[in-house]
């Protein structure tokens, strides 16, 4: 079960993920990102500080946007991951392909 809270700060869409993302809930993450992009946001900050778990289904959602965001010059930075969630991204090497920051301040700095 995942809850996604959205708010806008300094022109960026800040999405807070609360709970667990697995095969039953990854569609919610996908829809939220698609909605944000559809509304014209080009800066996405993904707050993972209340994200307790992410399965490969959730990782797959982030992965599927990497190429599209590159083509459309959309920036996305994830931040605030706990150790276990960060480890999940590292196992697959996704930490090398996505922008990941320690906290929101650092994430904002990474948005050019």
């Amino acid at each position: 079960m995942i809850h996604i809270k959205r708010l806008q700060e300094d022109g960026a869409d800040v999405m807070a993920l609360v709970g667990e993302i697995d095969a039953s809930s990854s569609i919610d993450l996908d829809l939220a990102i698609a909605k944000s992009v559809g509304e014209g946001f080009t800066k996405l900050l993904i707050d993972c500080s209340a994200l307790e778990y992410i399965s490969s289904a959730g990782l797959g959602v982030f992965m599927s946007y990497i190429e599209e965001f590159r083509e459309k010059s959309i920036q996305m930075v994830l931040f605030g991951m706990n150790e276990k969630v960060a480890n999940t991204f590292q196992i697959l090497g996704l930490n090398e392909l996505l922008k990941i920051a320690a906290d929101k301040a650092e994430a904002k700095k990474m948005l050019a």
């Binding site: 697995d22 095969a23 797959g60 599927s64 697959l92």
Partner: protein, 141 residues
């Protein structure tokens, strides 16, 4: 020590399974990071089974057994009615290709193979058993 959990093939039941795995391994001093990796791999295996072999039919049941013995790898058995979804028969797609193709799937097999030490399928008492092993230090039966 053997722990057993039976669930229907509904994706919403994955959380119950994850909690069962965490609770079972938590009783044996397994490090939290190891538990989280094991949960990740089994979540993947069970969701694949629910989706691809049972088309998420909540009336179809399967069992997960966890066996913890001193000095031995922890054994996880996913026991099903005979429908096989053998991940050993699937190639691990390169990450670069998945990204290029904008795919959402394909990560799971890589994940399971990188976390588990051994994955095999056996037939037992008319059922198909997917048996996964993971050697974890400090696991106390």
């Amino acid at each position: 020590m053997i722990y057993k959990q039976k669930v229907g093939c509904k994706l919403e039941n994955l959380k119950t399974l994850r909690d069962f795995i965490r609770e079972s391994l938590g009783r044996h001093g397994v490090h939290e990071l190891h538990i989280s990796e094991i949960v990740l791999a089994l979540d993947e295996m069970c969701s694949n089974l629910m989706i691809h072999a049972h088309h998420c039919n909540p009336l179809d049941l399967f069992e997960l057994h966890i066996t913890v013995e001193n000095g031995k790898p922890i054994v996880f058995e996913i026991i099903d009615d005979g429908t096989v979804f053998d991940i050993n028969k699937f190639d691990e797609p390169a990450l670069g290709n998945l990204v290029h193709d904008k795919r959402k799937g394909g990560l799971g097999i890589r994940l399971v193979k990188s976390i588990m030490d051994k994955i095999e399928y056996i037939q037992r008492d008319g059922a198909t058993v997917c048996r996964l092993e993971k050697l974890v230090r400090k696991a106390v039966a």
